[in-house]
Amino acid sequence: MRRLALLLSLTALLLTGCGGTTGEVENQAYALVLGIDRADTGGIELTMRIPRIGHPGDSNAGGEASGSPYLVLSAAGEDYAQALEHLQWAAARELNLSHVKLIVASEELASDAAFPELISRVAETRHLYTTAGFVVCEGRARTFIKGQEIILGTRLSSELAAMFRHYAAHGYIPRATFADLYYATRSCYSDPVGIWGFMDAGEKPAAATITDDEDRLNADTLTASARQYLGGALFREGRMVRRLTAGETLGLDLLTGRVDTFSFDVGGETCMLSTITNPRRQVKLDGDRVTVEADLRLTAEDSSDRALLDRAEGELARTLEALVRRCQTLGVEPFGFAERAAMHFPTYQRWISYDWRAHFSTAEIIINVDIRSSGG
């Protein structure tokens, strides 16, 4: 008994992490949203959204209006490390990046040649866990983050998580985390995709961006938030090359098996479709000739009209083939075909020297869609 007590006492002396007051929740600045942008001076500007632990009406708070439960801080530096150091000072507390839910990069910076290196610097930041969602925003990241609001929930962190989960399940946005961006940029497989974020300027309804053809407005869509997330951002070798519309994003999610239920318009008639299994993707290599094949199996939730479903099969296959060809023209491959092609090579060096992107851009694309009625 004495030995046990002695052992426990000695062990307690080793709990050095519990000493002092710096570890207390109120004494840390938990960043929920991190924004990265090009500073006016040409360096890097970082913006963070931090919850205020305490009364929202705290008269000592700076930054936003004192009634807001969140604080937005910005700091610039010559590079990322310096900007982060300046932000440490601006936060006036120990900056804790372990709860970052969203990383937002401006479109201008994401398209910059220096962005690939910046991705690595951010991913390697101590205790920045890269499970955060990744958004490329229109305009300035600071402006985008300042305008974020809580619409239905009580906390921004759960609001963002619930919203992205809902959007991703229906194919409105890709399932994109910063970790996916980092790994895809540094590895030898398919290219990554980010979520596209834009500001509702109120000049045109959000419905305009849901259709690919902006002249076709079916109805006004009233949204409560000034910050919208719809569509994706396509990356090649760590740089953004193009925005994806909502329709293209849905196609991408379908081909990568990341959408559960979605609606598809066939000549004015809308079908509600669900995926049965993940798409079967095959890549055949025959010398320099590459054939890429994808088989999708879907079920129609609300229609048993075989003629309509046959038309939907053809239309969906054509839409997906057009999307893949568009990406071939850009030299980008975000569909996961590279992972299939890599199976044909024994070593990393041989795979790299094959130059998958060059072969993909001339590949033959075959997309098969099979839609079954839910009635059988």
């Binding site: 000695l10 080793l14 050095t16 992490g17 710096t22 570890g23 690595s120 991913a123 390697e124 205790h127 866990y129 890269t130 499970t131 955060a132 985390t177 910063f178 970790a179 996916d180 980092y182 790994y183 895809a184 540094r186 590895s187 030898c188 497989y189 996961g336 992972e339 299939r340 890599a342 199976m343 090579f345 024994p346 070593t347 990393y348 060096q349 041989r350 795979w351």
Partner: protein, 327 residues
């Protein structure tokens, strides 16, 4: 300090130590092997078997001071390396910036306690750990299941056969040190039993390696640093955040057990080399040597030399063939 090791304790503790050593060595310390790591583990087992057979024969024939010395020095050196590696790993997951040297102190206390309690206590704790490891690992696999990408296992040879062979030589060296020390200290003479236990350990390592490879893809050469590899293992951004705790527990407990086993083995082997030395001075000497070697900067990598050295040591017939040495 008890320098005896029963056969059941040897099986459990050496098996757990081999799992930790191979996994750390091939996935964190030698990431140039990457996709080929599972093959390196398998080839390493095959390369180690002839040397282990020679060590089993040596165990039957009595004291072999040269072999004992070679194993003693290798165990102590590896323990020093693992002390540094464990402290470094802890500094990566710690909330504050803590010097690695400070983190070594509680580890040395734990090692000292193990040396005091002896080999059978180490074996008993290994058996308890194995029982906890399985459900923890099942929980991790269950929640990581949607995130596994089998396609990332290819290209299957990673950076090439040269890397795989390097990895297999290193793996063989580690297996021989841990397995060889356990064999000599428990007096195991049945080579089949040794094969069986190590094969199970290497199979478990192979599975862990495949699971890890499916969680983060092979990256370019610049992404091969230890810290990057630890991040990819423990906080890779793809696994749910709540899995960090079980994964850190599995990793840290495994590393601690490995450190304790190698240190205890070095201390017990020292007592075999110098039979007149009692347990307490042997333990203090071993602990001091391990701590000192961990603090000194290492410029030479001995990993590739371990297997050849062990092979020579097992073959050299130094020492009279006295009465059979019991564990």
């Amino acid at each position: 300090m008890n320098n005896k090791l029963s056969r059941s304790a040897a099986t459990a503790s050496a098996g757990a130590a081999v799992i930790s050593r191979l996994f750390y060595g091939l996935m964190v310390d030698a990431p140039e092997v990457h996709n080929g790591a599972w093959l390196s583990a398998l080839l390493g087992l095959i390369l180690s078997l002839p040397v282990l057979w020679l060590i089993c024969r040596a165990a039957k024939r009595g004291r072999r001071p040269f072999l004992l010395c070679a194993l003693l020095v290798s165990s102590a050196l590896d323990a020093a390396g693992m002390l540094e590696a464990t402290a470094f790993s802890e500094s990566c997951v710690a909330f504050n910036h803590i010097p690695t040297v400070v983190l070594m102190l509680p580890l040395l206390l734990a090692v000292g306690r193990c040396l005091w309690l002896g080999g059978d206590a180490l074996g008993a704790s290994a058996r308890v750990w194995m029982r906890a490891f399985v459900p923890l690992m099942l929980v991790v696999i269950l929640y990581q299941w949607p995130y596994y990408r089998p396609a990332w296992l290819f290209p299957a040879l990673g950076f090439g056969m040269r890397g795989v062979l390097h990895g297999s030589l290193r793996a063989a060296g580690w297996i021989v040190i841990i397995g060889g020390a356990a064999v000599l200290l428990c007096g195991e003479r049945q080579f089949k039993r040794v094969c069986g236990s190590l094969s199970i350990a290497v199979a478990v390592v192979g599975l862990l390696i495949l699971l890890r490879l499916m969680m983060a893809p092979v990256m370019d050469a610049a992404g091969l640093g230890q810290r990057t590899q630890l991040d990819a293992l423990l906080t890779n951004g793809r696994a749910p955040m709540y899995l960090q705790l079980p994964m850190i527990i599995i990793y840290c407990v495994g590393m601690l057990h490995l450190l304790c086993f190698e240190s205890w083995a070095a201390s017990a082997l020292l007592q075999r080399v110098i039979p007149q030395m009692s347990g307490f001075p042997a333990g203090i000497l071993t602990l001091s040597a391990v701590a000192l070697m961990a603090l000194l900067p290492s410029t030479i990598s001995l990993d590739l030399w371990r297997l050849p050295v062990m092979l020579i040591a097992a073959l050299v017939p130094f020492g009279r063939e006295a009465a059979v040495c019991d564990g």
